[in-house]
Every structure is written in structure tokens, then in C-alpha cells.
Symmetry: C2
């Protein structure tokens, strides 16, 4: 990730997103209050970490009953969400693109995947999971029309570098790249390169170390 | 992520995995040496960070030509890889499970996805992308037979909590959970909970902050 424009660290932002999901699940089960150590336990971290994160965003209304779930959801949402909904396009509607779309939409988030782009004739012109799929060659011209601000790159890795220029030209502000090629963009475009292989290699490493230390 | 059994931080492990992928790509293009600032630039970080990471693993053979690509690959591999290949099973062979399998295998890694488990009758008993798909009810008994040490949880979120006990009983050592429910395991089992929504929310947040600060 490039520059951090304000004081909240990336990792805290990630955890706020995770806390909010857990809080939503709590609310759906009728839970109105939650203690920091319970929230911490669910996420495998310490209560100190939870309290530090919430202090960083200025939330301190801890009561004897714990945090008010609904209030904390609103508070985190005010930090994370933008006033206007952000439209996201998926570039590459293979298994990963479809998994992300299915997974993401219908969660009632402010972020919405509203369009997909591909080059496969069997996909272009169809609607997949409720999302229209356009030909990649129309991406630049359609980005404005569709008011797209972010893209998910889930194309084959070999194609990814060719997408950089169209993404810049389309005025996209944020890129989440799942291919194996890290993509770089000019300043002003936020990019997160995330190869899933890394996560598996990390888990494998700590399994191995646990073995040799145990 | 739970305990870190030795001195190398999680984030360094992630970056080592990323450096190695880039180094493999360099080698494939015939590049034999790379400077720390070039490697840093590809990953959008500073050269100081790269050098610090490599110092942490005891690698210091920086020459006037930069790092020797082949030597550094071997060095990182000695840190990340275990001597024996680790077999991974995917629990839930929907779009995400299939994307991960396709993506992961055929990369010549020490880690291999060797089996899938699902409950869908149209998948059970078939071979998907070269991986046999078994019924989830046979997971515990088959884990030993198949010598599984890790699982990827890519089932529907609602199903995920029911998988915890079978995973423990099967003697699995590492879990990468992509569902929206964080899973907790007893000590000795490494778990990484990774909801893709978090990544998108993070990018959206920094886009929003960039906007308001710009």
C-alpha cells in the first residue's frame, strides 16, 4: 500500500472492517453489548489491541455492559464509509471474479460491484450474478458512464500489466489486484496487491515453525 | 494470527513470499541480479524495508550488481519451505475454492492442493482441475490417509463454524479461512482469517481519505 494520508494505520483499518462484520453478526443475533475482551477473543487478538484501535478513532464509550453494538457499528461506519456509494468493477470474470462478486454483493455494504469486464465471448453481453459483463475494450469509455471509482483485478496474471494504462485513463482511484504481478500506479491511485499464495505460504511457514519449536 | 513462534514478524514473512514470486519472474526473464531499490519499487515499499527484511533472515550478500536472484530465491526458500511437501485440502469447492486451486497448483510450489471436499452431489466423486473432490463427511477419516496438513476454508460462511471440530479431529495444523466468520482453534493450530471484504474496504478507505486530503 502506498502513502497513508492520515493517522490511522492500515492494520487498524483492516481490523475495524473485521470488527464491524463481527458486530453486524452480533446484532443479527440480538446481542446489544459486547466487551472488548469478547470482541478480541473472536478475532484472536488482545483486548488491549481492540481498545487501542477504538481509541485511535476516538471511540471511548465503554460502559459496564461493554460497547453498545449499534453505536459502535455507526461509529466505525462513519470512519470507513464514504458519503456516496462507491462503484466497483471486476476486471476478469473467471472463478475468482465471480467468487468475489457473489461474496461481496448482497451484504448491504456501501461498496457495490456494479460491473464486470472480460474478453471471453461467452461472458461479454451477459449478466453474471446480477452484474452486467462488458467487453474489456469498452472499459475506459464506460468507466465514467458507470461512475466507477475502484476495480478488482482478477484477470489472468499474464494480462494484468496491460490493464494498468486503461485503469489510469479511466480515472480509477483504487485498485485491488489479486494477480501474481504487483502493479504500480502513479500517486493518487491507491493499490493493494494481494496474491492469495502469500497467505497460504504464511500459514505454512508458521505451521512449520510450530512443528520445529514444539 | 496467533502466536509467532520465532523472531520473524508476520509481515516480513508475507513480504518474503512476495519477493520470491518477483524473483522467480525475474529469473524467468533472464535477470540474474537485482538491486534492493528495484525490488522495493516493484512492491511499492522502500529499499530500507527490503534490506531490513533480508537482514532479519541473515541474508547480506549484496554486491555491486545487487542481489544474486538465484541465490536469494534459494535463501528465502530455505526459510519459508518445509523439507517435506505439505498437502492442502480445500473445504468448499465453489468459485472461490476452484479459483484458489487453479491459481495455486501448477506454480511449482512446495505446497500442493491435493484434495477437495464438498457436499454438492454434482461435485463429490469428480475431479476438478485435477483434484479429486470427496464428500465432507469423509474428511476426518481421509485426512490421515491423504497426509493433509493444511486446509483452505472456502465454504459458505454459514457452514464454516461446523468445520472447526472436523478440522481439529483430523489433526490439521494450519487453516486459511476465507469466510466472513472468524474461526478460533486450540493452540498448536495456526489460523489465518481472511475475509476479502476487508481488503476492498481498506482500499476504499484510503481512496476516500486521499480524496478528502487532496
Amino acid at each position: 500500500m502506498a502513502a497513508i494520508p492520515n493517522g490511522i494505520p492500515e492494520k487498524t483499518i483492516e481490523r475495524l472492517s473485521e470488527y464491524r462484520r463481527t458486530l453486524h453478526a452480533c446484532r443479527a443475533q440480538g446481542i446489544t453489548h459486547i466487551f472488548s475482551h469478547v470482541l478480541a477473543g473472536i478475532h484472536g487478538i488482545t483486548a488491549v489491541q481492540v481498545r487501542r484501535d477504538l481509541m485511535l478513532i476516538g471511540f471511548s464509550s465503554d460502559t459496564k455492559k461493554g460497547y453498545d453494538v449499534a453505536v459502535l457499528i455507526d461509529y466505525i461506519s462513519a470512519i470507513l464509509d464514504s458519503a456516496d456509494p462507491m462503484n466497483i468493477a471486476v476486471l476478469g470474470m473467471g472463478h475468482l471474479g465471480q467468487a468475489i462478486t457473489k461474496y461481496f454483493n448482497g451484504k448491504g455494504l456501501k461498496l457495490k460491484i456494479t460491473a464486470a469486464f472480460d474478453v471471453d465471448p461467452s461472458k461479454v453481453g451477459t449478466t453474471i450474478d446480477g452484474i452486467p459483463c462488458y467487453h474489456m475494450e469498452h472499459f475506459e469509455q464506460m468507466a465514467e458512464e458507470l461512475d466507477l471509482s475502484m476495480v478488482v483485478v482478477s484477470s489472468p496474471t499474464s494480462v494484468a500489466p496491460q490493464l494498468v494504462l486503461p485503469i489510469i485513463n479511466a480515472g480509477i482511484k483504487g485498485v485491488l489486484n489479486f494477480t501474481s504481478t504487483p502493479l504500480t500506479f502513479p500517486q493518487g491511485i491507491v493499490v493493494e496487491n494481494y496474491d492469495i499464495t502469500t497467505l497460504l505460504e504464511k500459514v505454512a511457514y508458521f505451521v512449520k515453525e510450530g512443528d520445529s519449536n514444539g
